[in-house]
Symmetry: C2
């Protein structure tokens, strides 16, 4: 009945995937509008109408996404104390934690020609552009894909990639 005869490392991959946080994370912000709302929030958008006009998103979709992001702890929803009609959607600490993801994606887009870099993100202190985000070793050295492995916290190595040629 040929139970499992995988040609390479899907077995290991699936096992590792069980504990991988990415699928859950992707359910929260791995969707066009959710990600654009996040970008908007990082850039100071705070109200329903601002998101709607700023992103050009349909109102029912926006409503749904905001609710999900609030439920997911990325955004916080509170009535505007200065104007009873308005609601303020602000980033939680968890939401702010996504800054590196958004900036990394932006830098990737710039590097690969998905839009010009007319403005660039900079350190407010001195106005100098931020560094290119990269994966860094313990000592700060930049690492690329083939310099990485998976290890268990005890230091034991685990092969997931490279298992298959």
């Amino acid at each position: 009945m040929a139970t499992q005869r995988f040609s390479s490392d899907i077995g290991a991959f699936r096992r590792a995937a069980l504990s991988c946080p990415i699928p859950n994370a992707v359910d929260l912000i791995g969707e066009k509008w959710a990600f654009l709302i996040l970008r908007g929030a990082l850039n100071g958008l705070r109200h329903f109408e601002e998101f709607q006009a700023g992103l050009g998103i349909a109102r029912n979709i926006l409503s749904d996404r905001l609710a999900r992001m609030v439920a997911g702890g990325i955004l916080e929803r509170c009535p505007d104390p200065n104007d009873g009609r308005k609601v303020i959607y602000s980033l939680s600490r968890k939401g702010e934690g996504l800054l590196p993801v958004v900036v990394a994606l932006r830098q990737w887009g710039e590097e690969w020609g998905h839009g010009s870099s007319e403005v660039v993100l900079a350190d407010r202190r001195d106005g100098r552009a931020v560094r290119k985000i990269c994966v860094q070793a313990h000592d700060g050295r930049a690492l690329n894909l083939d310099e990485l492995t998976w290890v268990r916290p005890d230091g034991e190595s685990v092969e997931i990639r490279q298992a298959a040629e």
Copy 2:
């Protein structure tokens, strides 16, 4: 006719958004399956059946996403020279450039409890875990949201966030 009377900074936001690479980038990988395929590819998955079994994705959807990612230059598709039935999907340099995005999202998920860190990404040279990815100033200092601004390449400051409030 009340043309534009935005209460805060959507005007500036929309202007900046025109040149922002994020919407295009999001069209390419800002979707659940595309992102999971990317993660799979970074972890060594290479064949159609591997992705299908590894991710549990429907075959028609997988087919569609692979084609899009090839068209978008993230993956490269080539027939396996050793087996005429197989096709190898491998990351292009552009695709590998997304490594920081994926790792940053994974770290965020770990930090905020979307999955355990049974295995951790490490420097293959010494087996030590990689650093937490963050936005860094020119001198390597970690920067958080409120320490950032937008500047034009000539150094001229541009207010997008913080314009409101």
